[in-house]
């Protein structure tokens, strides 16, 4: 855990002690200082603590570890370690082209105004399926919406390796169609290997040197 989170937790603990004090000694509020204390401890400070806690929880919900904490995502996590650069997520993960501790979120949020919120709402739906629905087999899982090039282009637009790539320019207008999502980056014959969990049993895995 990083330092801001520790500080936030210490703050929350302090506020909890103050509120508990008021709960046990509510006669403190007979005097003016006690009433000020009550206003702080029962209103201002808990709002601050909860707000901080909420944003810290939201941050955690974007972590690779969080995504992989449900068993059904195991194979998707393993697919990041496949020893084959044609596996696009594996290539990005192993070379730190996506932030390692936010790998899934980096590719699976949507880069729009409400994208981070949408991603959380879909996450809530995932939790609903996980705990109250029927959990599908990993290989049967599909995205709720077709993958939009926008998410790749968030990083790749303007990148020399992407813009100058001969395959992206082999037909007139191809680059324009990629840029506005008329030709998908992941169409077959292009970058069509992502997690491929159904064939994971045949894959070999990269072992980082200790």
């Amino acid at each position: 855990m990083n330092i801001p989170v520790w500080l936030g937790l210490a703050f929350t603990a302090l506020v909890a002690v103050l509120t508990a004090l008021l709960a046990f000694k509510s006669e403190l509020t007979r005097q003016a200082p006690g009433r000020v204390l009550a206003f702080l401890a029962l209103f201002i400070l808990p709002v601050m603590a909860s707000w901080g806690g909420f944003s810290a929880q939201m941050g955690r919900a974007e972590s690779t570890r969080f995504c992989l904490s449900c068993h059904v995502m195991n194979d998707f996590g393993r697919s990041l370690m496949v020893d084959d650069p044609s596996f696009t997520p594996a290539r990005h993960y192993q070379n730190h082209l996506v932030p390692v501790d936010h790998a899934c979120y980096t590719c699976h949020t949507t880069y729009t105004l409400f994208g981070p919120l949408d991603a959380k709402l879909e996450g809530l739906h995932h939790m609903y399926v996980q705990y109250l629905g029927t959990i599908p087999k990993p290989a049967a899982i599909r995205l709720y919406h077709p993958y939009n090039n926008r998410e790749c282009l968030h990083c790749h637009a303007g990148m020399r390796a992407f813009m100058d790539e001969p395959n992206h320019n082999k037909k007139p207008g191809l680059m324009a169609s990629i840029l506005d999502n008329r030709v998908s980056c992941i169409s077959s014959g292009c970058h069509d290997t992502m997690h491929d969990v159904k064939d994971l049993q045949y894959a070999s895995f990269w072992k980082p040197k200790p």
Partner: protein, 79 residues
């Protein structure tokens, strides 16, 4: 504040008892909610996240609501 006579430590009117009971309830709810929030940080897991969202936050919100309603009712009526 004309009503503060009512809140005098030497004359604990029944009204004060009621206010203090409410404050006690509010404090207990907020403290319990904050403890749930703290405990939810022990794990990085969807259930911990849900405990924060569905138990920790509502308890704190309820406690604050009880407190705000209490001071609203305790304040002197407008002349």
């Amino acid at each position: 504040m004309p009503a503060s006579g009512n809140l005098n430590p030497n004359t604990p009117a029944p009204r004060n008892h009621l206010i203090e009971r409410r404050i006690r309830l509010a404090g207990t709810l907020v403290a319990a909610g904050l403890v749930v929030q703290l405990v939810s940080f022990l794990w990085i897991h969807p259930l911990a996240f849900m405990a924060f969202l569905l138990i920790g936050l509502p308890l704190v919100a309820l406690g604050i609501l009880v407190y705000l309603l209490t001071i609203l009712k305790a304040s002197p009526p407008a002349p």
